[in-house]
């Protein structure tokens, strides 16, 4: 089995060449035979004509000599007779005398020439010896033999003619069919050669075309291009297999690079988030610290004031001061820590009582808290800024009978905290600003305006929640002008007081995996 491309091509080309050569030789053969047969026919006829002429010349010279006894005639006789003898010898040498009719006639002519020569020689000798009856008798015999020879030459020519006619008729009967077969043969050989050339060309170019097509796709970045399939078992198969392996290797290598780059990007993003969170915490702490002007002095002072009020019998004042101290202590704690919802609510209660003393109990605060969520962990100062906003902006201009409702519940492993007021409500523009979807200067100014007691704005709360829980959508605001506002915070429901987002960070802000 020829497996190599080169061997296959050589074999197929040799096949086509041999096929064409064989066909050519096959077609050539009858025509060669025809030419040969025609040549033999003409050569035989020519020879027999020369023989007849030669015989006539001898006869003429002999007759002239016998009648005139002229020496020139005798010389002519000898000359022509020599030629005739040569022909007779040639005829005996050149032919094998078989039972074939033409051979028999041919041999008879050759032997009759000998007989003729013998009679003529006797006649010439007799003429020289002047024995008339002898030369006349032998001349007559020679003449009779010459006639026989002429008759045989004529019969041989006729035989040859008949033979050639038979040959030609046999040829003509079959020649048209032979030509038709040969036409079919030629056309078939041409078609077969074309098919073989196409086969060779297709076999050689097809894998190269496939290779080139897939190469182009790979060059365009498509490593998912189909594998090259080659059905033959030759060098093209080896080449295709190697190419397919190479494509697969490159694809795997690029995927590895891609994964690495993705991991690095993710790490960078994480790092950036951590840095941002740290910045926010720092900012919140800074704001809180600004309020802690000598907190020990302030707490001691507030304690002294509380004791003074107790001693003076001013219970309300002492409660007021106690609430204030509690509020300040809560605010003075680290912003990185986590608190329970219970602690945040307690701080809000203190805050509310301060407000009641300050503005009178004109606004009502209601709590609707599911008991199971009270131990949920949240960042400190998460709900307080919302309540403060409700007091100041939601109910600020509604002098009395306003109410604030604080709800907390668990929903599908999420903690949902909502702060609602039935105050003035806010415009859509304001709502968008709070959600961070409007960053105009005016919006930023409003945000600043919204910082009150703690100095912590809504954006700070939202950003801290995002970073604390690692999720994006934490806030939802529903508000209608004149009807009120509900701000809902939705965060993962986490339990455990020790949970602190700051614990996820090391000193340099890298991710501690």
């Amino acid at each position: 089995m020829l497996s190599g491309v080169r061997q296959q091509m050589i074999a197929l080309f040799l096949f086509t060449v041999l096929l064409t050569a064989m066909t050519g030789m096959h077609l050539f053969n009858p025509f060669m035979e025809f030419i040969e047969q025609t040549g033999v026919m003409f050569a035989d006829t020519l020879f027999l004509n020369e023989l007849s002429d030669n015989l006539a010349s001898v006869d003429e010279a002999l007759r002239e000599y016998l009648t005139t006894r002229d020496s020139d005639s005798l010389l002519a006789y000898y000359e022509h007779m020599e030629s005739l003898s040569g022909k007779s010898a040639y005829m005996k040498e050149s032919k094998k005398f078989t039972g074939e009719q033409s051979d028999l006639l041919y041999s008879s002519i050759a032997y009759m020439l000998d007989t003729y020569k013998r009679y003529t020689e006797i006649a010439v000798q007799a003429k020289r010896g002047r024995t008339a009856h002898v030369y006349i008798a032998n001349y007559e015999k020679a003449d009779e033999t010459a006639n026989f020879i002429k008759d045989y030459i004529s019969r041989l020519k006729e035989y040859h003619l008949n033979e050639n006619i038979q040959w030609y008729s046999a040829l003509s009967i079959n020649i048209s069919r032979l030509i038709t077969s040969n036409y079919v043969l030629i056309v078939t050989v041409i078609l077969l050669n074309i098919m073989i050339i196409l086969y060779i060309t297709y076999n050689v170019t097809s894998p190269i075309k496939k290779l080139s097509k897939v190469s182009e796709e790979i060059a365009g970045g498509n490593f998912d291009a189909e594998d090259i399939k080659v059905s033959t078992e030759d060098e093209f198969l080896v080449m295709a297999n190697a190419f397919n392996k190479m494509k697969k290797s490159i694809k795997e290598y690029i995927e590895q690079l891609h994964d690495k780059a993705e991991t690095e990007t993710r790490l960078m993003d994480q790092k950036m988030q951590n840095l941002k969170m740290k910045a926010l915490l720092n900012d919140a702490e800074l704001k809180a610290l600004q309020l802690q002007i000598n907190p020990h002095f302030l707490f001691n002072t507030l304690n002294a004031a509380m004791q003074l009020s107790i001693m003076e019998g001013s219970d309300k004042t002492s409660v007021f001061i106690e609430n204030l101290a509690r509020l300040l202590r809560y605010n003075a704690g680290s912003m990185e820590r986590s608190v329970t919802l219970r602690e945040e609510i307690a701080m809000i209660v203190s805050y509310k009582e301060l407000f009641d003393v300050r503005f009178g109990n004109i606004q009502k605060v209601e709590f609707d808290l599911a008991p199971e969520v009270l131990d949920a962990v949240i960042p400190p100062m998460t709900i307080q800024p919302l309540v403060e906003n409700a007091y100041i902006h939601g109910l600020g201009d509604a002098s009395e009978n306003g109410s604030i409702r604080i709800c907390a519940m668990a929903e599908a492993e999420m903690l949902v905290i909502s702060v609602s007021d039935d105050g003035l409500g806010m415009s859509e523009e304001t709502r968008q600003q709070i959600l961070g979807k409007n960053n105009s200067n005016e919006a930023l100014e409003q945000n600043k305006w919204r910082m009150h007691l703690t100095g912590i704005g809504m954006d700070n709360v939202v950003n801290r929640l995002k970073m604390f829980f690692g999720i994006e959508n934490v806030i939802h605001i529903e508000s209608r002008l004149g009807e009120g506002t509900t701000i809902t915070l939705t965060v993962p429901f986490l339990k455990g007081k020790d949970y602190r987002p700051a614990a996820r960070l090391n000193g340099e802000g890298d991710l501690d995996v």
């Binding site: 009719q101 041999s107 000998d114 003729y116 040959w167 040829l171 069919r177 032979l178 098919m195």
Partner: protein, 324 residues
């Protein structure tokens, strides 16, 4: 490469092989027909000896079979035979000319059909003088010549016996001659043994079927008493049988023939007793032996100068035996 392509290749290969086969077939047929035309009765083996065969024309069934035998013997003995058909058995001039040609062309031997001993005596002597062996068939050629053939007298006798066997001693016979006289001598001699039998007519035909029918029709018209016809050639025998059928004389006249081949039509004639029987002179054997004996002599072997070919008599009974 699709399936269509493979089928196309396979189809083309089949056509190619077919075209090649057809081309070779027609080419061979061409060559064979040429060869058949040229060598039908010849051999291309180189001959040791060259002889002339001077016999009656090849249309005659007897001489056709004779020639076939001679040609077969020629191949077997590596003898080249130059055939000269003489159209008319009486054409002695043509026979003589062929004899002289045999001398001029230095033939080793001559086989010649002679009708009588006298006509060719000098010519046979001339051949012998010039070193040409002479084999005669028909009648003996005389001194220094060889003979292969049937005994003409015996042939005539056997035919007469067959006539008596067929129609009884009151035979009224018409004889169609083949040219020689010895046969009729033997026939007459035998007939004379039966006083009530007689030869009513002796005629000759041209040896062709149509001509023979005319002659026989005239015999049947002119000689209504004839109840048997003796023919000396197969052509005349068949013509006589056809004439009897044509004239509705089946059962009234019977034919005694010569040298018939065992063909369906001959069998039919014999089975219906139109031809009572025939004398078989075995021409193939005669032809074969004439060449074989001559070739043996040329090789220097001893051979008898007189070789007779057996005569066979074939009747309906013989055919019946053969069929069994």
């Amino acid at each position: 490469m699709g399936r269509l392509y493979k089928y196309s290749i396979a189809g083309l290969l089949v056509i190619l092989i077919g075209a090649f086969a057809m081309s070779i077939y027609y080419y061979n047929r061409m060559a064979m027909s040429q060869e058949n035309a040229a060598y039908a009765l010849e051999t291309d083996v180189e001959a040791f000896h060259r002889i002339s065969l001077i016999i009656n024309n090849s249309d005659n069934l007897y001489w056709q079979r004779f020639k076939k035998g001679a040609m077969d013997a020629a191949i077997e003995n590596r003898v080249a035979i130059e055939f000269h058909g003489i159209n008319n058995a009486d054409d002695t001039a043509s026979v003589v000319m062929q004899m002289r040609i045999a001398v001029a062309s230095q033939k080793d031997g001559v086989i010649v059909n002679t009708l009588d001993e006298i006509s060719y005596e000098a010519d046979i002597a001339y051949l012998v003088e010039n070193g040409v062996l002479v084999m005669t068939t028909g009648v003996e050629g005389g001194k220094n010549s060889y003979f292969v053939g049937t005994n003409a007298f015996e042939f005539g006798q056997r035919a007469a016996q067959l006539v008596i066997q067929a129609v009884g001693e009151n035979a009224r016979v018409a004889v169609i001659l083949d040219g020689t006289t010895d046969e009729i001598v033997g026939f007459s001699k035998e007939m004379q043994r039966y006083p009530n039998a007689s030869i009513e007519a002796i005629k000759k035909t041209d040896g062709q079927l149509i001509g023979a029918v005319d002659v026989i029709q005239s015999i049947l018209t002119d000689y209504p008493e004839v109840n048997a016809i003796f023919c000396m050639t197969p052509e005349d025998t068949l013509a006589a049988a056809q004439a009897i059928v044509d004239r509705n004389l089946v059962g009234d006249v019977v034919v005694i023939g010569t040298d018939l081949s065992d063909t369906p039509i001959v069998r039919r004639y014999i089975e219906r007793s139109i031809i009572y029987g025939y004398i078989e002179r075995n021409p193939y054997d005669a032809g074969f032996k004439s060449v074989a004996v001559l070739a043996g002599v040329l090789r220097g072997e001893f051979n008898p100068t007189f070789v007779t070919i057996d005569l066979d008599t074939v009747t309906k009974w013989d055919l019946g035996q053969y069929n069994r």
